[in-house]
């Protein structure tokens, strides 16, 4: 046995042994702190992070996330490109302007790193300019919201906390009806059934989003039509008076497909014992529907983007629903803003999709690559430029490249990637957005 094999095996030991030591060290630390406090001694120890920085979602991705996400892309024009770990040459950039960003001619000879797979179409129509926009948060009417989601069902328990992001506002957690839970605060709503099969449906929806969107279709389910599911969700959206929604993406999950996806995935109970998740039956099949929010025909990014400067972090905006034949099992909307917005200065889209792609390739050719990355999407989106006091935010148009990544080790083990990957390129200059900070 080699040292590496030994350590790899030890690395996989049961969680209970790891937790045993963690608990011991924790108790020892608490005891030591108590003693220190009692003796009024000041002991200075090196601080590796400051809690007030580390706890915020706005903490930096820094090198691991950036490098792990590091990607290079290749230009593609209206055609589907797939490159499988072979040294490739990037098609040239014709630089003919924003609206022709996906047209390639000639050969510029940009090399593509070997740990890159491109699996994307570039958008054909790009505006020549788009305004920076300022959005105001959406506050919900308490009574109206409860009427929509709870109706006349019995409330079994209710608590409230301080809102996550809004001073003087509350976040309500309400349990009602048959195991249903409603959580809401300004801009966010989550209403879901709280049982085992719903947890399975929720996990599948999450997996579809993270990796398997392409492997699921929007075909009709046997038990109920897609149109019914869409109508149910649209009904809620209408009642909430959210008008700036884009085209929904819908995926149907049959019991067979759902069980296939969840095969081998386990969950743990409160004692740490692993259990196989319950299997879906035909009654549990569902449609998973996602709506983007759209301003000026440009979607708000649905990707959580952290930044060292918390004010520049972007929180995803979307509406999502899991709909079964019995109704909406899960409805979530996050970071919903008023439909009216303030347009500020115009941003010229000097850099089309392909120019942006070429800029990205150049950037990643010059930086260290840690993961294998597949890019599968490219679109112009709005992301947060600044979160203002009072929770309004200013958003800028930007090229978003999306895909997923896998480490070398995971790839060698034949694992499927489950981590999403995003890159951003400023459309007016072709600069890589991450590099600005």
């Amino acid at each position: 046995m080699t040292r590496k094999e030994w350590l790899s095996a030890v690395d996989k030991i049961d969680d209970k042994y790891i937790n045993e030591l963690a608990d011991y060290q924790l108790k020892k630390k608490q005891k030591s702190e108590k003693k220190t406090s009692e003796e009024a001694e000041v002991v200075l120890k090196p601080q590796y992070f400051r809690p007030d920085q580390s706890v915020k979602p706005g903490t930096p991705f820094k090198r691991v996330m950036i490098a792990a996400a590091a990607v290079a892309c290749v230009a593609a024009v209206g055609i589907f490109i797939r490159i499988n770990n072979k040294p490739q040459v990037v098609p040239p950039n014709d630089s003919t302007g924003a609206s022709s960003g996906n047209t390639i001619s000639g050969t510029s000879g940009l090399p593509v790193p070997e740990n890159l797979i491109l699996d994307l179409n570039l958008p054909e129509n790009t505006p020549s300019a788009a305004p920076v926009i300022k959005l105001k948060p959406r506050f919900w009417d308490n009574d109206k919201l409860r009427k929509i989601f709870i109706g006349d069902k019995e409330i079994t328990s209710e608590t409230n906390y301080e809102s996550n992001g809004f001073a003087d506002e509350k976040r309500y957690v309400v349990y009602f009806g048959d195991n249903m839970r409603l959580i809401y605060e300004p801009t966010n709503i989550s209403c879901e059934r709280n049982d085992d099969i719903s947890a399975v449906q929720s996990s599948i929806a999450s997996l579809i989003e993270r990796r398997w969107l392409e492997q699921f279709s929007d075909e009709e389910l046997k038990s109920f039509p897609k149109a019914d599911a869409l109508a149910r969700v649209q009904n809620i959206i209408d009642k909430l008076e959210i008008v700036n929604v884009g085209e929904p993406v819908i995926r149907s999950v049959s019991a067979e497909k759902g069980n296939e996806l969840m095969s081998g995935r386990t969950s743990a109970d409160k004692d740490g014992n692993e259990h196989t998740r319950p299997e879906m039956t035909d009654a549990d099949e569902f449609y998973f529907i996602t709506y983007p929010l759209v301003y000026n025909d440009i979607e708000l990014s649905q990707h959580l983007k952290m930044n060292a400067d918390f004010k520049k972090s972007h929180r995803p905006s979307y509406i999502k629903a899991v709909v079964t034949k019995n109704g909406i099992a899960e409805f979530k909307c996050e970071n919903i803003y008023e439909s009216e917005f303030e347009a500020q200065e115009n941003v010229l889209i000097n850099c089309g999709a392909q120019d942006a792609l070429n800029a990205l390739i150049k950037h990643y050719n010059e930086t260290f690559q840690m993961s294998y990355t597949t890019l599968s999407g490219c679109k112009l989106v709005y992301i947060t430029e600044e979160n203002l006091d009072g929770q309004s935010r200013v958003l800028i148009p930007i090229w978003q490249f999306s895909g997923y990544e896998i480490t070398k080790e995971e790839k060698e083990q034949g694992l499927e990637p489950e981590r999403l990957h995003y890159d951003y390129v400023l459309p007016q200059t072709g600069e890589i957005y991450e590099e600005l900070f």
């Binding site: 040292r3 590496k4 095996a9």
Partner: protein, 186 residues
């Protein structure tokens, strides 16, 4: 705050969960990252990323052993970071953490064939650990899972460094015998 309550806060998307995790497990995670990376800044970055990973993975995960859950994330991130730093410096060679004392117990020749055999060895190590007294088990885990220095383990358990070394040596020898008896070429 107990772990179940913290996990519940994650599930309810309450950002205070991150504060609580930092308060309770910050030092623990930092210690793991620091043991592997030996660099304060990298360790800080690694721990921050641990919180982010936890935030993104709960839900759908509902960890019942939160310390182990966070510890695993930290360790994986730290090893990935170490590998990337190593690759930058050494041109892509594998990283093996320096536990020289192990050379006394293992042949150094690759002997595991396939995932099945690997999983069997893991099962046997788990079974072996179950037979150990808690203190010996924790010392073993501290050294080979948490990658702590002998001096740190000695301080943690109120022992002399030489005592820890002797303790580990005996445990490793027993584990080697245990694996050999079950037909593994160690």
């Amino acid at each position: 705050m107990d772990d179940q309550k913290i996990v519940c806060m994650f599930l309810e998307r309450d950002e205070s969960a991150l504060r609580e995790v930092s308060k309770k497990y910050g030092a623990y995670c930092t210690s793991i990252a620091q043991n592997i990376l030996h660099n304060c800044e990298d360790a800080e970055e690694c721990v921050n990323d641990t919180y982010l990973h936890a935030w993104n993975s709960i839900p759908p995960n509902k960890p019942t052993a939160l310390g182990a859950f966070l510890g695993r994330i930290t360790k994986n991130l730290a090893l990935n970071m170490l590998e990337s730093l190593h690759c930058e410096k050494r041109g892509g060679k594998d990283v093996t953490l320096p536990f020289e004392e192990l050379d006394e117990f293992i042949s150094g020749n690759s002997s595991i064939e396939g995932e099945c055999e690997f999983n069997e060895i893991v099962d046997e190590i788990n079974a072996f650990l179950q037979t150990l007294p808690a203190k010996k088990r924790m010392i073993f885990v501290a050294r080979y899972w948490q990658c702590e220095k002998l001096s740190e383990i000695a301080e943690c358990f109120g022992m002399a460094e030489s005592g820890v070394a002797a303790n580990l040596s005996r445990t490793c020898k027993k584990l080697k015998d245990h694996l050999k008896r079950r037909g593994f070429d160690v």
